[in-house]
Structure formats: C-alpha cells, structure tokens
Symmetry: C2
Subunit: 117 residues, 2 copies
C-alpha cells in the first residue's frame, strides 16, 4: 500500500503537492480568482491580473487546464478568439483560494502594522 493512496500534502511524494503548487503559484492563484467573474478572454485576463506577463499567463492557464480546473475554448477565427472558464472543480478550488485571499485582504491592516513593529 503506497503512500499515495491517501492523499497528503505533507508527504513529499504525494502528487497532491504538485497540484497544490499549481494552484498556489504566484499567478495561478490570481487566475482562479479572476475567472470567478465568469468567462474571460486571454487579453481581458491579462488586463485584470495586474503585472502578469503573456508568457506567465499562458503557462499558468496551461497548468490549470491540465489539472482540469480551467477550460479553454478556442474559436478558430482570425484574429484568434479564445475563452477561458472555470470547470466545476475549478469553481470549488477557486472558492477556497478566494476565501484565503479575502482573509488576507481583510486583515492586511493588522498584518502591515505587525510588519513595521
């Protein structure tokens, strides 16, 4: 019975670690939060997420797509038209990520005050 049977992020060899890393990656978090507003095109996402480069946005979207959290729909037209959505599982994960971000945003005053002590 390998360690992997009961998923555990504290276990070095558990593949949940990899997924957690995708989800909690610098831009992955923000992609999930941004997509909570609904379907978005690549450029719209890029404008919404301050500071992300095209390269990083593409890469983050690809990883989340591979994990089945994000759905990519490409319309083969010129100029290109591609839409991104959360999958049902993506919605679930995005909610948790959003709760975390909101918690930090809500306590930012306290945190910043502590940092300057």
């Amino acid at each position: 019975m390998p360690d992997d049977l009961i998923p555990d992020v504290l276990n070095d060899r558990c593949p949940s670690r990899m997924v957690l890393n995708h989800v909690t990656s610098r831009w992955g978090v923000l992609v999930l939060i941004a997509l909570q507003d609904g379907t978005m095109r690549f450029s719209a996402l890029r404008r919404r997420i301050g500071g992300v480069s095209e390269r990083m946005l593409t890469q983050s979207l690809r990883l989340l797509e591979e994990d089945g959290l994000v759905l990519r729909t490409a319309h083969p037209v010129v100029p290109p038209h591609v839409e991104y959505d959360l999958t049902p599982l993506g919605v679930e994960v995005a909610e948790k990520v959003h709760a975390l971000a909101a918690c930090i945003e809500g306590n930012l005053g306290q945190i910043m005050a502590h940092r300057t002590e």
Copy 2:
C-alpha cells in the same frame, strides 16, 4: 486616494500580494498546515513536512513570523529549544489554507485522471 486603501490581490501594487505570496509559497502553505496540530519545535516541523530543508524552513518561518501569522518562542538554553505556534490570525489563515489543501486532496483522483487523458 491611493489604490492601496482597498486591499486587492489583483492589483499589482497592493501589499496583500506580498503576504499572499508568503502564505502560498511552496513551504509556507505546509508550515501553516503542520502548525494546526499545535506547538511544534523546529526539528519536529522539519520531520513533519516532507522534503523541506533547514534553510527553507527557517526562511518560511521567518516570513510568516514577520507577517504575524506565526509566533516564535526561544528558550535560551543549551541545547537550543525553540517553539513555534500559530497566532490567532495565523489560525484563521491556516484554516483557509487547510480547506484548500483538503479540497485538492479530496479531488486528487479526478485531477490525476484528467491529467492522463
């Protein structure tokens, strides 16, 4: 009225981004989850969190301490005895992080199945 007045992680210049990065960092996430079990010493933490190096554990603990999420208590004896705890705010944040990790662990089967398609 600067952008920073209403914390928003999607905003490039909002300091909540920095805190979010500490919390969602590779080892930061796991430190918070591990500390949910209660007070732990450095070595215990290191054993609990699979794959973390001393260097990275120290660094992660320092960042979370600066943000006021983790409390470090050093007893000046030889050999050294140092205890780590979550602060009240740390408990709150750790709950969200744990919910996220649990969500991923719980859906890992589905995710891994999707990845191999």
